[in-house]
């Protein structure tokens, strides 16, 4: 009889720790106050970017500006944004030659010749700020997340440096900052766009190839661009809900 009682108590205690009822009841009390943002309504925006490949001249301004703005380690070569050069032999879109010397930081020394039947162009890349991002799904501690305004951000104080998200990103947009051993990635210049500025890469793009846009703002020119151009996202088969829209994206681009 006494063994039964002990068993009953042990079982009840276990059940108690496994139940979420207590958590639900007291959640509101323990949450704390939401952070204040005086001039910026987080729910009033849904950020995206358009990249016009037909306008990109591969100058590397975006790469340099991003490193300056966001204190990205200059060497070894890590990037929040980088530029790739595609060399596609005639008709062979399955085997493009892609290079990105120092991510395009020092520009692209001429390597190919004109008139050999190949197609050559630049593709700037950055975090696609996916609406259904695989990197957010795999983070075990909630250190990477989609903000209410559509930006995939990193909580550096909470990141364990486990690298799951680095592997999960289909676009290779994440790296481990060697100084902090935490993950780092494009924040869409969150510190700038919330102050009414554009991103550092868009600010310095000399041909307006890259343009930041707010999909929730009906007056934003991004709507006109998306209407009048044949746009595509990278790896649409991944269904990541990418919000970086490319105009003139060739089928060879990976």
């Amino acid at each position: 009889m006494s063994a039964d009682r002990r068993e009953f108590l042990a079982r009840s205690t276990k059940l108690l720790f496994l139940t979420g009822a207590a958590q639900l009841a007291f959640e509101a009390v323990l949450r704390g106050e939401p952070e204040t943002a005086p001039n910026y309504e987080t729910t009033g925006h849904w950020w995206a970017m358009t990249i016009d490949i037909e306008k990109c001249i591969g100058c590397g301004n975006c790469v340099r500006a991003c490193k300056e703005e966001n204190d990205v380690p200059r060497e070894p070569y890590y990037f929040r944004t980088w530029v790739e050069r595609y060399h596609v032999p005639e008709g062979d879109i399955e085997r493009p030659q892609v290079d990105s010397p120092n991510g395009g930081y020092d520009g692209f020394p001429e390597k190919y010749r004109s008139g050999d039947g190949s197609k050559n162009f630049f593709v700037p890349k950055l975090c696609n700020h996916c609406a259904h991002s695989p990197c957010v799904q795999v983070c075990p501690v909630g250190a990477t997340f989609l903000s209410p305004d559509g930006v995939v951000l990193v909580d550096k104080t909470y990141c364990l440096g486990c690298r799951y998200c680095v592997q999960a990103c289909p676009y290779g947009c994440r790296f481990i900052d060697p100084r902090t051993e935490t993950v780092d990635k494009c924040s869409l210049c969150y510190h700038r766009i919330t102050k009414g500025l554009t991103t550092a890469c868009c600010e310095t793009c000399p041909t307006q190839s890259r343009v930041l846009g707010d999909l929730k703002d009906p007056k934003d020119p991004i709507h006109e661009f998306l209407r009048t151009h044949k746009v595509q996202v990278l790896k649409p088969q991944m269904a990541t809900g990418s919000k970086v829209f490319y105009n003139g994206l060739d089928g060879s681009v990976r």
């Binding site: 205690t13 939401p34 591969g58 001429e110 909470y158």
Partner: protein, 158 residues
């Protein structure tokens, strides 16, 4: 009857354990779950603010033209009209905040212009490009061209 109510003590003991368990859970949760976690989603709400507060390096065109209002006029109608100042002049938020102390450095046109205008087959064919060595022969671009309006040539070389 007495036998049935004699077992009431067990119920109190279970209830006591239950309350102790809830308290232990609440204390642990308060200690382990960071402040603001779960307000917007499965992350710390404070992380938004932390991402927001960093200082900017590029001041933005609007800040530049507050003082340098003559430059947009000089660029008007030219092919560089839409280019923002810091695309060529570099990050100048420091200068915008303290113009007297932090001076902007004039970029070297030989390096700067070539970044965009050196011939490269990967560049769009319509974009103006030159073989720098042939075109300039080691001369600085600004010897002949007006940087803010490159279609204009300087007087001496007309």
């Amino acid at each position: 009857m007495g036998v049935r109510f004699g077992h009431r003590g067990h119920l109190f003991r279970v209830a006591g354990l239950f309350v102790a368990g809830v308290l232990a859970f609440l204390v642990l949760q308060a200690l382990l779950v960071p402040k603001g976690f779960g307000v917007y989603g499965h992350y710390r709400a404070g992380a938004l603010e932390e991402n927001r507060v960093r200082p900017v390096a590029f001041a933005g065109r609007a800040a530049c033209v507050e003082c340098h209002s003559d430059v947009p006029d000089a660029m008007k109608g030219g092919r560089h009209e839409k280019i923002h100042c810091e695309a060529c002049h570099g990050p100048l938020a420091g200068h915008a905040g303290d113009p007297a102390e932090k001076k902007a450095v004039r970029p070297d046109s030989k390096v700067l212009c070539a970044r965009c205008h050196a011939a490269n087959v990967a560049r769009p064919a319509k974009f103006p490009q030159v073989e720098v060595a042939e075109h300039a022969g080691g001369e600085a671009c600004t010897t002949c061209h007006v940087a803010h309006n490159p279609g204009m040539m300087k007087e001496a070389t007309k």
